[in-house]
Symmetry: C4
Subunit: 262 residues, 4 copies
């Protein structure tokens, strides 16, 4: 089996596992005093979804042409599989669901990046708030005790505002916060980059249009330096003229990408 | 009626409604102990302006060629119309007034983006400060009690500085803050993108000029790899030379920018 | 006198006035318990430098071809001249001194932007710290009492970190802070834009080089789609060959762009 | 000896010195109550590594063609060598080790920038946390007492979140913080710039592809304005056709790229 086949076949099981994990993890964190049997079910779901991710990871390693290099280049994947703390990152798997939504709807690359940024940000905020609540709730000196506060904290952190009215005090909570801050920097960067490339792509056709109109204005005087386009236009005209006098094969005119006539 | 006609006709009523709403909302928030009849008038104005926005929204849905898709693609519009909390966002409608100011005055795309960013930022700060003051004033543990403090809070938030001397404590206030923070990220991004695209557009003509001067330096030696421009220049010169029936002047070969030989 | 002459002649007086203002303002703020005669001298210097800026502004308005429009387009200049609070912004005038330093030393546009950003940032931090210290010192509840703390506050603010251990409490101090925060956003934006345009300018020649090497690899097979450059190279070779054998016709009929023949 | 030889030969000694300094500095800061002989050894290592950096700096000055100018253009290097406070910046030297890791592995410029940003950020956070801990530990009113807290402070600072639960109070600590904040702004900028240039480079080929497909659609009608590429394609076809009928000299001598005739 090729790595591509493995990846394609693994898409649905992984997404289903991520959805199950989303439900079980949310339930576990948001309703702390659960009855014992429910807790046991949630643990099993947790283990099973973890198993799916482990199998996928092992499969990818085994099928990779250069295994050591693949592992080195996919260290984050290894960390997400190994560290229980990074479990919430499995939820990012759900972003593949976007593929089925935006197909054909959003055409521009910037539009697609924007859609991914919005959905990824919402997912990251949700996952970080859950993880932070689990880490901080009940810790001495903690300021994060409810899910609402955790979401509020996650928003102030990912936007890098950081009022400081709410902040983590435990080591685990701070690790979650660190990941979220880096996500925040990426978030800022992605928003800026999208706006920026949109602006650049808007500005350049305008420049080109300006150049073209200058070209048209300047083209009737052969002595003036002419832009490339106008130059090629004239070359074409001259060659078109050439074609007529000496019975050249007419089919050449339709040759899109130059199939040299035999 | 086409959707475009509807939009064009709705421009003025919507702008007038936004201005009225601006006045009534500001009055309501900034002068808390209003007499009963005034409050009633402000409520009516509020309802009327809301009505204008609802009519506009419904009209757009009805006239859209693919209704469900239009609604999906304009979810923010729906939220602004439905949620009383997002009412202040109606003030963004006033940005259309900019159209009549900058026409012909600001030519570059970056200039126009900069003007929009400045005006949108001022509007957002004003609207967020009003909404925050309404949400937080009088809440237990609140640090935002006057409009001045609310504006100060809005500025520290939109620039993502977030000292934390002033911050919202109510859920409604935090929702307003969340919207403002996202606006702040967009603000940062827009400023950066404008500067960035300006720089890129400045750098590229410089590169082109450098390439052109290199071309001129290298053009007299046919053996050296010449840039595209110079190449086409020589092609033109050669074809111009062809034009004259016979005994081609040999000096044409050296013609840098094609001076058609007499 | 043309506006350009006025501007050129005003350069030195304005710069000298800014230097004098820098010295007198720094002295006034940094050494609070000054003797009465010194204070009087500093006031006179302050008034004189203000006078130079007013004369320059009035001169520019009078000489502008469209006065009302000029005033509208240079509102910040008017504010700096009129509001005593914005006096420290006169120090930005000193940035013209950079012109004499970097001439010929820094060639790339990005390099020049970087140099301006660094110097402008240092100046803004210094000016903001002075203004903030003057505004906050002695205010009830103030946390800014020394110049060192003011500089620390200015740095945490312009980088948008905003710990909140030090923050302004007076209205004047908050206005200064607002200006500084906007400067901070511009600072962030300028750094990002410089890095970004540098990266883009590095990436594009690399792309071009990659395309060129692909071209060379693919060019020996005429059936494959060849890049533009290689194409023009071949055209040149063919035309070079044509030039020798025979005479071409005059009527370059159908010339789309450029009617060369008389 | 040329400056380049000096630089190449100095690479390994400097890197070894940086590694030794990393070990000795970390040990000194992280284990405060060291026995006297160990402290003495660490001091010697510190002095020796400093010596290596001084020798390298002096050598570069002596070998530079324009010494005064070199010093002016490399002021940061001088500061790092002279100020004990900036000693931790010597660790940035270790970034040269990246050269041996990424050779051939990361091909795109953005990939290499990303790798540098990640490694530089980790190094800067580590070095800043060490320096901050050394500066703040034991100071009155200090909130930074352990390495963990120092790292947490460094992360909240470099991402410009700045909760304000932990912040420096000593002058030395604030200087370290200032350097770290500027690094944070550069960090934000580098992330954004990398994302941005990646997006721009993705968008432009897409634009080109769109233009090309338009070209193909429009190419069969000579009257329509055709894009440059298609134009040159037709030119080639025409010239190829010319070549055949009249026994053209086969040796299209000097053909830079592409030997077409068999």
């Amino acid at each position: 089996m090729t790595p591509e086949t493995w990846k394609r076949r693994g898409e649905w099981p992984l997404t289903v596992a991520a959805v199950l994990f989303l439900i079980s993890y949310s339930w576990e964190v948001l309703q702390p005093g659960l009855a014992d049997p429910v807790v046991r079910v949630l643990r099993v779901v947790d283990l099973l979804t973890w198993g799916v991710f482990v199998v996928d990871y092992v499969g990818q390693v085994v099928l990779a042409p250069a295994r050591a290099r693949w592992v080195l280049h996919h260290l984050p994947d290894l960390l997400v599989v190994l560290l229980p703390l990074l479990r919430p990152l499995r939820l990012l798997r759900l972003l593949v669901l976007l593929r089925f939504i935006d197909r054909g709807v959003i055409r521009s690359l910037q539009g697609r990046v924007a859609a991914y940024v919005v959905c990824a940000t919402v997912l990251v905020i949700y996952a970080a708030a859950l993880a932070e609540l689990q880490a901080e709730r009940g810790a001495p000196g903690s300021t994060i005790g409810t899910f609402g506060t955790a979401v509020w904290w996650a928003i102030t952190t990912i936007t890098t505002v950081g009022y400081g009215d709410v902040y983590p005090v435990t080591t685990q909570g701070r690790l979650v916060a660190g990941v979220l801050m880096v996500a925040g920097v990426a978030f800022l960067g992605a928003v800026t980059a999208t706006l920026s490339s949109w602006l650049v792509s808007r500005v350049q056709p305008a420049d080109a249009a300006a150049a073209a109109s200058e070209a048209e204005a300047g083209v009737d005087r052969g002595a003036e330096p002419e832009p490339l386009r106008a130059e090629v236009d004239r070359l074409r005209a001259l060659l078109d003229a050439h074609r007529i006098p000496r019975g050249l094969p007419d089919e050449v005119a339709g040759a899109t990408a130059g199939t040299p006539t035999p």
